[in-house]
């Protein structure tokens, strides 16, 4: 009879476990399906217990290569090849000189490796001429066939295969025609001895003819001729200039930008990494995804398939990057479809959002997040689903939520507040996570610096806007020399905020006097003490203790006739002149933009943590009158 009771307990457990498993049934298929969706015939996975060794060559250290390399390693990892664990790699580059390409490939050929991964078109040509002992897999090449890889994608040289990426020529020309009003003539410049450019321009010429646009061509044999050639091109009355991935032209890219800017001719290119150098836009290729794609080719060859049997593929996942600042300068308005360039649409993303507690801050962030998803053109139900979890302030539920999230498949996991990201980052390591509403992510243990952080996550810090505050105070009180704040040594956030404020103050030539307070009773004394040290304004940092004693500090400030500036917006109602507080709505907006970068192919590891872009400013006109302070219009006009 007694045993029966214990059995009852176990039965109850089994029964609930069964319900849970039945609810979880879809995951059983889902996860394996996702894997197969990503790629994967069984021959692609790493054979357990085997160690692989590959060689990797590239033209020069540059952004495009870095992205492709990241993609290759991520792709290999998903297939079970983990760098420095069961696969090692020797890599070498040619320092950007054609002449070095043959020697490095010769050297690679004599190494004890399983295959050579070759990136860039000229490197393909060089590798084909010298590599005799190893199979070759190439990537990051516009025109592998023109480089000598073979007659067609299926009929190619037996020791080579890989992924070619012919640039989206027609899309580029369409983009130019649709974005720039009244385009009749498009100018272009390339080196006629570069096989890849000749092919690309040839295709472009044909397409332009078919849509009634004139393509004005000019060539340059070496980098010295580029400047002259581009100047000549601009003289020939062109409405826009298109430069494709021509190596010669790109080595003199700054010259091209200069001439185009002087002549106010919009410049459109095919390499997204150069947009910020002064192009109007780029219609380019996601090299990360190309690299990821290449990984499956590497895997197949590593597992013994002959390159001869693997067709070459043309794989292009385009990305459009716009330089909106420059567009404004030129008075160009991009069509909506490019502004919210939606490769993101139609993917039916699965997002989830985890809150720790219901609070105005987390609710505002959620509003911002939802609004921004809508603003970038994604429709809930069609393009994405967003599942929201809320631990309702309970830490054990938070852990259960972390478990529930980790057992499902997501494209992006969003979190608000510090405990949430801490428990989720511990549990989930294979899905990108974007956090927001975290005061100081470094103190939360998420990284060593904003650039160097945990690989699978990135996010938004809602640390106060100290620089904005210092600027505000300087403009409100001309000639101000000293400011003051109370801080709480017992709260690490407070100490860190105090340090941040001090650094910013010194940057703008102000002296910060800070006095510690450990308890509510000490706050009033501390406030008096600062007031007597000759400060000209309180810039009170926001920590738990002084936030709850704000009223008493403000009272002291009024008694000593010292204006008080706050980092908490509600203190403007208590008498502060103005407050600069981080806007949590924008914390959600910014998180979405980060997620967008991840979805477009950037690894979260390469996206630094960022501060919220907007802070909300609130001013108190009565207090301004009382202290006889004038704020510049730009402050008072805002809400």
């Amino acid at each position: 009879m007694k045993i029966r009771k214990i059995i009852n307990g176990f039965l109850a457990l089994l029964f609930t476990a069964a319900i849970l498993l039945v609810s979880d049934l879809e995951n059983r298929k889902d996860k394996s399906e996702t894997n197969s969706k990503r790629m994967v015939a069984s021959g692609m996975r790493a054979i357990p217990g085997r160690n692989y060794k590959i060689g990797l060559t590239y033209f020069a250290p540059e952004k495009a290569f870095d992205r492709a390399e990241q993609g290759i390693w991520d792709g290999l990892k998903d297939l079970g090849f983990v760098k420095d664990s069961n696969i090692t790699c020797i890599s070498q580059h040619a320092n950007g000189e054609m002449a070095n390409l043959q020697p490095i490939h010769l050297n690679m050929d004599n190494q004890d490796i399983d295959l050579i991964v070759v990136t860039s078109t000229p490197a393909v040509t060089a590798a084909l001429s010298v590599v005799k002992n190893h199979p070759i897999v190439f990537s990051l090449s516009y025109t592998p066939l023109e480089a000598g890889a073979g007659k067609s994608f299926t009929d190619h040289r037996p020791n080579i295969t890989g992924v070619g990426s012919f640039p989206p020529v027609e899309k580029t020309i369409d983009f130019i025609v649709e974005s720039i009003p009244n385009v009749k003539r498009i100018g272009t410049l390339y080196n006629s001895s570069e096989a890849n450019s000749v092919k690309v321009i040839g295709d472009g010429r044909k397409y332009c003819e078919s849509i009634g646009i004139e393509l004005v061509e000019n060539t340059a044999i070496n980098t010295n001729e580029v400047y002259q050639a581009i100047s000549a091109l601009c003289m020939r009355n062109v409405d826009a200039i298109w430069i494709t991935g021509d190596n010669t032209a790109f080595q003199a890219f700054s010259g091209i930008v200069k001439v185009c800017h002087e002549n106010k001719v919009p410049l459109v290119i095919n390499d997204i990494d150069f947009v910020d150098d002064g192009a109007l836009a780029a219609v380019g290729i996601s090299w990360y995804k190309t690299g990821y794609r290449t990984a499956s080719y590497v895997a197949r060859v590593l597992n013994g398939e002959s390159p001869a049997d693997i067709p070459i593929e043309n794989y292009v996942d385009e990305i459009i990057r716009l330089n909106t600042d420059y567009a404004k300068e030129l008075g160009i308005q991009f069509p909506d479809k490019y502004l919210h360039h939606n490769k993101l649409k139609g993917n039916n993303y699965k997002f989830c959002l985890a809150h720790y507690v219901d609070s105005p801050n987390s609710e505002n962030a959620e509003h911002g997040l939802r609004d921004e998803l809508k603003r970038i053109g994604l429709i809930e139900g069609e393009d994405f689903t967003l599942k929201v979890f809320n631990a309702q302030g309970d830490i054990s539920t938070l852990n259960s939520i972390a478990e529930a999230i980790s057992s499902d498949r997501w494209d992006i996991v969003f979190t608000t507040s510090t405990p949430t990201i801490q428990s989720i980052s511990k549990k989930i390591t294979d899905t990108p996570i974007v956090f927001t509403n975290v005061g100081d992510p470094l103190i939360a243990g998420l990284g060593d610096s904003f650039d160097n952080h945990m690989n699978h996550l990135t996010g938004i810090s809602t640390l106060s806007d100290f620089e904005g505050m210092v600027k505000l105070v300087k403009e409100a009180i001309p000639g101000i020399k000293t400011i003051g704040t109370i801080y709480t040594p017992g709260e690490v956030n407070s100490v860190s905020y105090n340090d941040h404020l001090k650094i910013e103050a010194e940057k703008y030539g102000l002296k910060l006097i800070s006095v510690p307070a450990n308890s509510a009773t000490e706050v009033a004394d501390a406030a008096l003490s600062i007031a007597n040290q000759g400060i000209e304004a309180f810039t009170q940092i926001s920590d738990n203790l002084t936030a709850s004693c704000g009223a008493s500090i403000i009272k002291t400030a009024y008694n000593s006739k010292i204006p008080y500036f706050a980092f908490i917006s509600k203190q403007t109602d208590q008498g502060a002149i103005a407050s600069i507080a981080r806007d949590y709505y924008f914390a959600g907006v910014d998180a979405v933009n980060m997620a967008k970068e991840i979805l477009e192919g950037t690894s979260p590891a390469n996206i630094p943590f960022r501060y919220v872009t907007k802070s909300s400013l609130k001013v108190n006109t009565e207090a301004m009158e009382y202290f006889n302070i004038q704020l510049p219009e730009k402050y008072t006009q805002k809400e």
Binding site: L13, T16, S23, S85, S396, T397, N399, S400, T418, L446
Partner: protein, 313 residues
């Protein structure tokens, strides 16, 4: 499946909390609110020591002792100054909030990159079966290290249950149980009930603090607010366990607390897995607990009726 394993693991860790609550509420009939403070106190002490480089096992042990100290204070306040148990608990719980802030030096200590007891389990798993290996369990992909983690927690909790059971069978343990049952009788036998209460509440809070320290290591951080709501969950676990394993003997009640805690986590997991409106999470959980509480009674009645009808026939 990963959700099931994870939930059981959390359930087992929080079973320590349920055992602590069981001691104060059931053995002593002492409604001890200190729990919410001492849970965080354990987490804070453990985390602060681990960050300072102390061996995580030692840190957990010290957390246990820290919790005992907190409990002893509650017991003292109650017995010495004749303060109502609820109020004594509230006093200590409130004070512990500040103590915790001081122990941690800030409101939140991350342990994401520290070596904890669970890092050891991870390393052990990597040593036995390789890092990041997955295995197929009934068709679900499950990380091997999660299984080791579960096994580790299971063994740990079972050992603590055994220790507790053994302790309550000793003379002093029996005296403690008797204090809760009938203090006049046990006082007549010459036992100082006050010291029994102090010791009992200390032991209770030791377990609770240990649960806090373990949870902090499991989730990778300690937060000053993590104790909020814990006592209610612990109590709910104990009561669910009692309802299901309907027996008053010591071993069964202890087992009931563990079963209740795990069952409770499973119920929360189901509510989460069903993907209901997040605002409804707590009401659904409450509903589940309600069902778990009344179901055994209903089934018993039904069985009795069946027995009767067969007897008539």
């Amino acid at each position: 499946m990963a959700l099931l394993i994870g939930s059981i693991t959390i359930g087992l860790i929080l079973a320590l909390l349920a055992l602590g609550i069981f001691i104060s509420f059931r053995i002593f009939d002492f409604p001890d609110i200190t729990a919410e403070g001492s849970f965080t106190f354990g987490a804070a002490t453990g985390a602060a020591l681990i960050v300072a480089g102390v061996n995580p096992l030692l840190a957990s042990l010290i957390a246990f002792l820290a919790g005992m100290a907190a409990g002893a204070i509650t017991g003292l306040i109650h017995t010495r100054f004749k303060i109502n148990p609820l109020l004594a608990g509230i006093l200590v719980m409130t004070a512990l909030y500040s103590v915790n802030l001081h122990v941690m030096g800030k409101s939140n200590i991350p342990l994401l990159n520290e070596t904890t007891v669970f890092t050891w389990v991870d390393n052990f798993s990597a040593w036995i079966s390789g890092a990041d290996t997955k295995t197929n369990l009934l068709g679900w992909q499950v990380a091997v290290k999660d299984l080791w983690l579960l096994l580790f927690c299971l063994i740990t909790i079972l050992s603590f249950c055994y220790l507790l059971w053994w302790f309550f069978k000793t003379n002093i343990g029996t005296a403690m149980r008797a204090t809760g049952d009938n203090d006049q009788m046990i006082r007549a036998l010459g036992v100082n009930t006050n010291s029994m209460i102090i010791l009992g509440i200390a032991l209770s809070n030791g377990f609770i603090a240990l649960a806090g320290a373990m949870l902090a290591q499991y989730q990778g951080f300690a937060d000053v607010q993590m104790g909020i709501g814990m006592m209610v969950w612990g109590l709910a676990s104990v009561i669910i366990g009692e309802a299901i394993i309907n027996d008053n003997s010591l071993g069964f009640v202890i087992a009931g607390a563990v079963v209740g805690s795990v069952l409770f986590r499973l119920l929360v997991a189901i509510a989460l897995r069903w993907g209901l409106n997040p605002n409804d999470l707590k009401i659904i959980t409450a509903l589940f607990v309600f069902i778990a509480l009344i179901l055994p009674g209903i089934m018993k009645n039904k069985r009795k009726r069946n027995l009767k009808s067969t007897a008539h026939a």
